[in-house]
């Protein structure tokens, strides 16, 4: 189906539509939520340890859903195998996609294995749930030790995978920025700032998403939200937002000021963002509501600990980052390559490359997330974070960094499996 209303008019048109707007957004969420997971796994922010497994699951679910966007955008999706058989490396950055994606998936599988191995080993002894116990036994790959030594080995694997993974996450998102930034045919894309801007806004969106997902699951299971985690996430969010704002300002100055920018860049920036169709999405939604307002609203310690405030701001930040992707992808194509006027970029609601397909991709991501939450024991740390009364088993308290913190009541080590996972079973929630 023709992607735009102007198809057939012979006029220049946008070729990359809403799916390509969504692709950098989703892959940014992948990279960003991975970064949140590594904050505790690699950088020692132990307060964030309880949400690290959840962040890893979110990252993995989105990682599996991300290729759907470009696959759906491709006009010949049945020829996707050519990306392997006829890979044009290193000349085409797009050819790197499958290479990077597959290595990322493998790395995430290793990391998820290590993060959840101890939990799965405990789950394997469930009596009431034979299927899930069997699955958990499968997921441990036969290594079911839960002593401090094996947990520490898991932690070491997680640290390594997090270290390599953060590079691959940046590569995964950076190459998308590079696709845009390296395109000399588009005045507004051709900028070395774009890959960096993409990565920073990816981190921003990842932190905001994890914040929202944390609120959602806590609400769903009726847990008490740990304000220390919220405040810590907000600190990182503010830091990333400041970097983002800095880069946005650099971009604004380097493209929007006549004396500083090449003529073509300035003219299109001026026509699209200052006076054109992207005025509101750029200044209001991307910069105002997406960056400046959250920075103000998260300025004080008290505001950062407020759950409602954090939730609203996280949502605004996500919206702002999506608008940033829209402004880059749509804005770059609205600047005509050969004619004098702005290229129409209509929003399509149904069919090929439309709002409908974007909703579908996010639906797939949510389903994958739900499936993974069913499959993996991710709640332990989170539940533990709200129950301050339960003491921690000796020898296990210091391994919480990797998200395998086993908050077992002392003295019940022999019945750890029963004592530890009561609420993890369906219907067992308070």
């Amino acid at each position: 189906m023709p992607p735009t209303n102007y198809y057939g008019s012979g006029l220049e048109q946008g070729y990359w539509g809403l799916m390509i707007v969504t692709y950098p957004f989703i892959s940014g969420l992948v990279a960003g939520s991975f970064v949140v997971a590594t904050l505790s796994q690699l950088f020692g922010r132990k307060r964030l340890a309880p949400i690290a497994p959840m962040a890893a699951i979110v990252s993995f679910a989105l990682l599996l859903a991300a290729p759907l966007t470009i696959w759906g955008d491709s006009r010949q999706p049945s020829r996707v195998y050519e990306l392997i058989t006829r890979m044009h490396v290193p000349y085409s950055p797009m050819a790197l996609f499958l290479l990077i994606w597959i290595s990322y998936v493998i790395l995430m599988l290793v990391e998820l294995y290590a993060v959840f191995r101890a939990g799965n080993a405990a789950r394997a002894e469930w009596a009431g749930q034979p299927l899930r116990a069997k699955l958990a036994r499968l997921l441990t790959l036969g290594v079911r030790g839960r002593d401090a030594g094996s947990v520490r080995r898991d932690e070491r694997i997680v640290r390594w995978t997090a270290g390599i993974g953060i590079l691959i996450a940046f590569l995964f998102h950076g190459y998308i920025g590079f696709i845009f930034g390296s395109m000399k045919s588009r005045a507004l894309w051709s900028s070395p700032l774009i890959p960096v801007l993409f990565i920073i806004s990816a981190i921003v969106s990842g932190i905001a998403l994890i914040q929202l997902v944390y609120f959602a699951v806590a609400k769903w299971y009726g847990w008490r939200i740990d304000k220390a985690i919220v405040a810590e996430l907000n600190i990182w969010l503010v830091g990333a937002l400041l970097l983002d704002l800095y880069l946005d300002m650099v971009e604004l100055l380097m493209s929007g000021v006549r004396s500083y920018a090449p003529e073509e860049t300035y003219e299109w920036f001026n026509r699209l963002y200052f006076h054109g169709p992207l005025l509101w999405t750029y200044f209001l939604f991307q910069l105002g509501l997406g960056v400046v307002l959250p920075l103000v609203a998260l300025a004080t310690k008290r505001w950062r600990a407020s759950i409602v405030n954090s939730g609203v701001m996280a949502f605004l930040v996500l919206m702002g980052v999506y608008m940033m992707r829209w402004n880059v992808v749509a804005g770059g194509q609205m600047a005509s390559k050969v004619t004098n006027d702005i290229v129409s970029f209509p929003l399509v609601w149904t069919g090929y490359d439309s709002v409908q397909t974007v909703v579908g991709v996010f639906g797939v991501a949510v389903l994958l997330f739900l499936a993974l939450t069913w499959l993996l024991p991710w709640k332990n740390g989170l539940q533990g974070s709200s129950s301050s009364t339960s003491p921690v088993a000796p020898g296990l308290d210091d391994v919480g960094v990797s998200g395998v913190s086993l908050n077992t009541p002392a003295g019940t080590a022999s019945t750890m499996a029963d004592a530890q996972w009561p609420a993890d079973q369906p219907g067992g929630n308070p």
């Binding site: 023709p2 198809y7 057939g8 008019s9 012979g10 220049e12 070729y15 990359w16 470009i70 955008d73 491709s74 006009r75 010949q76 999706p77 020829r79 996707v80 195998y81 050519e82 990306l83 392997i84 058989t85 006829r86 890979m87 044009h88 000349y91 085409s92 950055p93 797009m94 050819a95 996609f97 696709i179 395109m183 000399k184 045919s185 588009r186 194509q333 005509s336 390559k337 050969v338 004619t339």
Partner: protein, 347 residues
């Protein structure tokens, strides 16, 4: 696979494309096989009647939208010796990247270029129609088109015909017709960025797409600075001008050139010093589009600035750019026309 001939390349090449990927993995084994088998198989210039029958049957079951079937080149270029060339794609006279190889390590026989003589274009759009007819270009998309370019603006004039609240004006504009086409750049960014090597540059300069390999990602369409590529809405792949490669390989001119009533489009071999394009390029100042991007376009424009051009009076002639005029090259072509700015005697 035993059918050897010019026409069968499509199915075979898409299949062999996969095979080439495997060959890359298998490496030396396949190239050894290729080199030994090449001695046994003789190059076949034309398909036999039986092969042609099978070929036509194939295309009847798998109709193609584009009128040309296979990129056919001269047998001398090595296309027909497919055991040597297609199994070992390094021997093909094409480049997917690193285009400076063309003319050095990749043998270049011709170098097709087009010269748009804007002194002569009347904007009749006959070339557009001819192209659509020849190449079966679907409704709404164009491989070549003629833009109407207007430069200038309104100037205040008390006697002017345009009366507004803020003054009276007359229009001081110049209109010109500007034929546009794929520039078949010597360093085409569209070919570099293709993730699956579906588009390529032939050694004779033509940038083409293999429609059976294109995955339709749109990267090349975005990467072309001249908007010369588009999505073909029927075959759902990227599509573009081929300089009518199917006609060229049979010794005909591109359809747009043939149809031009005023000879505004001139086509020829830049490597041939006696060709009309060589003469034009050597004697007249030409411009290319978006020269600053460094794509090195091979479609040249004469009189792009639409200055009044009078052959008898060099005084009125304005040469907007002379960067493309290489007087040394001109001298090697032993030209004897007066060079622009040549006041006589000194060169």
């Amino acid at each position: 696979m035993s059918v050897a001939g010019i026409g069968v390349g499509v199915s075979r090449r898409s299949f062999l494309g996969v095979l080439a990927g495997v060959a890359a993995a298998v490496g030396t084994a396949v190239s050894f096989l290729g080199s030994t088998a090449a001695a046994a198989i003789k190059p076949v210039a034309r398909p036999s009647a039986a092969q042609m029958k099978r070929l036509l049957a194939y295309y009847r079951t798998k109709p193609r939208w584009a009128s040309w079937l296979v990129p056919e080149l001269n047998a001398d270029d090595g296309w027909q010796r497919w055991m040597r060339t297609i199994l070992n794609s390094k021997n093909l006279p094409i480049a997917h990247d690193n285009f400076s190889r063309i003319g050095t390590t990749i043998k270049q026989t011709h170098h097709w270029v087009m010269v748009m003589d804007e002194r002569r274009c009347i904007g009749c759009q006959a070339c557009v129609v001819a192209c659509k007819d020849e190449n079966n270009v679907p409704v709404g998309v164009y491989r070549t088109w003629v833009d109407v370019v207007e430069t200038g603006g309104m100037v205040p004039d008390p006697a002017g015909p345009i009366v507004t609240d803020v003054g009276t004006y007359r229009s001081e504009v110049k209109r010109s017709s500007m034929p546009l086409i794929c520039n078949h750049c010597d360093h085409p960014p569209c070919v570099d960025v293709c993730p699956v090597k579906a588009t390529f540059k032939r050694a004779d300069g033509i940038v083409m797409i293999d429609y059976d390999l294109c995955i339709g990602c749109g990267y090349c369409v975005e990467a072309c600075p001249y908007n010369a590529r588009f999505f073909n809405p029927v075959q759902q792949t990227a599509d573009k001008c081929t300089f009518c490669a199917h006609r060229l390989d049979r010794g005909l001119l591109p359809a747009c050139v043939t149809s031009c009533p005023t000879h505004a489009r001139v086509f020829g071999d830049k490597n041939d010093p006696t060709s009309e394009v060589s003469t034009l390029l050597a004697t007249l100042p030409t411009t290319v589009l978006k020269e600053d991007l460094g794509t090195d376009p091979q479609v040249f424009y004469i009189n792009r600035e639409q200055e009044v051009y009078d052959e008898n009076s060099t005084g009125n002639t304005v040469y907007p750019y002379t960067a493309n005029l290489n007087s040394n090259e001109y001298a090697t072509l032993s030209g004897n026309a007066p060079l622009p700015g040549d006041t006589g005697g000194q060169r």
